[in-house]
Symmetry: C2
Subunit: 231 residues, 2 copies
């Protein structure tokens, strides 16, 4: 193993708390009360089908920023909320301003001493770059599905990341809290590290039973991951 | 101005001193004495025509790592030096292990507080990533001509960088010690910052007369650049 590529939304940053917080701020400044946690969940839920339309070729390549904005506009209309373009722009970029899980920066800082650490996210390069500045994430480089015009779980994203790092797929480990992402990485020849993020979807979810999968590493957080790989 | 994109070889790192040092090490371990400064200069001189063959379409897209290796092999043959593949691999990656100019890290660290700072180099992503780890360069992201399959000074490289950062060309400033690079950036609509690196080609060169060009910023080093842009 020479490098670790990190899924970002849910694995490195707590998108749900961050998006709820931004929606609450938006609601306050517009004098609105809504079920913001449900709004946040619906925003996130809209993301996979939007990406799948790009993956199937029904849409040309479209950045996550633009997908996020389109989903947001639909949700605002459905909720009967009117807002100006610049307010919508700002809110749609809430995904640039997410905070890391408490262990993320400490774990990445240790892992970076020994390995190359990069993003491998469906988020676009500018989103990931702005988020890293906001959250203090010490990436060695910022690699995104945008660079390959292929969203994960397309194999082009995993293989493209290894190629840019000039290493073999087996020398690259994907770190993610999402089994489907890890299974696709494994199918492309990458190593796999599952990190549990039991609060990603809120407090009421059943924990995922990782024993039903075969990942190379199973870690409780990034500090545990650093311990396990000797970083 | 929202972001600064940095040329790297010569602008951020002192390639000549670094390459001479690596060649001297190579010579010592192989019991060879040669004019290593001249060898280093010839290695560097070979790089522009090799890239131009790619730019004209005479060669398919080829990474700088591979161009550097091919030029090195020719120079070793011409000098009557035999070496094994793994020694040549190691030496050809000397470009990954270059040291920064004395002001580079301090200046970038200040500039990063206020602006996005990225590479915009003809070096490939893995080269730039390894160099940043070696030299402690605090990039926000690593952008390379490799991502566009277009070497500078092709406009695609400058415009592609702005597009990945999701900013207008005029919001991006190229920082370089090389007037031709800056002129091409300006033609693509970017801002320009010339930084003098009078020792790039060794101690005996005439200083470049910057007064004959019209760059937005002219700085003596990266700390002076930070002062001038309020970072």
């Amino acid at each position: 193993m020479k490098a670790l590529a990190f899924d970002v939304f849910g694995t490195v940053v707590d998108w749900r708390a961050g998006i709820i917080g931004e929606l609450e701020k938006f609601g306050k400044s517009h004098g609105l009360q809504r079920d913001w946690p449900a709004f946040a969940d619906n925003w996130r839920v809209g993301y996979a089908p939007a990406m799948d339309r790009v993956r199937r070729g029904e849409l040309p390549w479209t950045r996550i920023d633009d997908l996020h904005r389109a989903i947001l506009v639909d949700l605002l209309i459905a909720a009967g909320i009117g807002a100006g373009d610049s307010d919508i722009d700002h809110l749609s970029r809430a995904w640039h301003r997410l905070d890391p899980w408490p262990d993320s920066v400490a774990g990445l800082t240790r892992l970076k001493q020994r390995y190359v650490v990069t993003t491998l996210s469906n988020g676009n390069v500018s989103l990931l770059t702005n988020m890293a500045k906001h959250a203090g994430l010490p990436w060695d480089c910022v690699i995104s599905a945008e660079l390959f015009c292929h969203y994960k779980p397309d194999p082009e994203a995993y293989l493209g990341c290894a190629e840019l790092l000039d290493i073999a797929p087996a020398e690259l480990t994907l770190v993610a809290a999402h089994p489907a992402d890890l299974r696709a990485a494994r199918a492309a020849g990458l190593g796999t590290a599952y990190v549990a993020r039991p609060l990603e979807y809120g407090p009421d979810r059943e924990p995922y039973d990782v024993a039903s999968d075969h990942f190379d590493i199973v870690a409780t957080d990034f500090v545990d991951l650093a311990d396990q790989v000797g970083a």
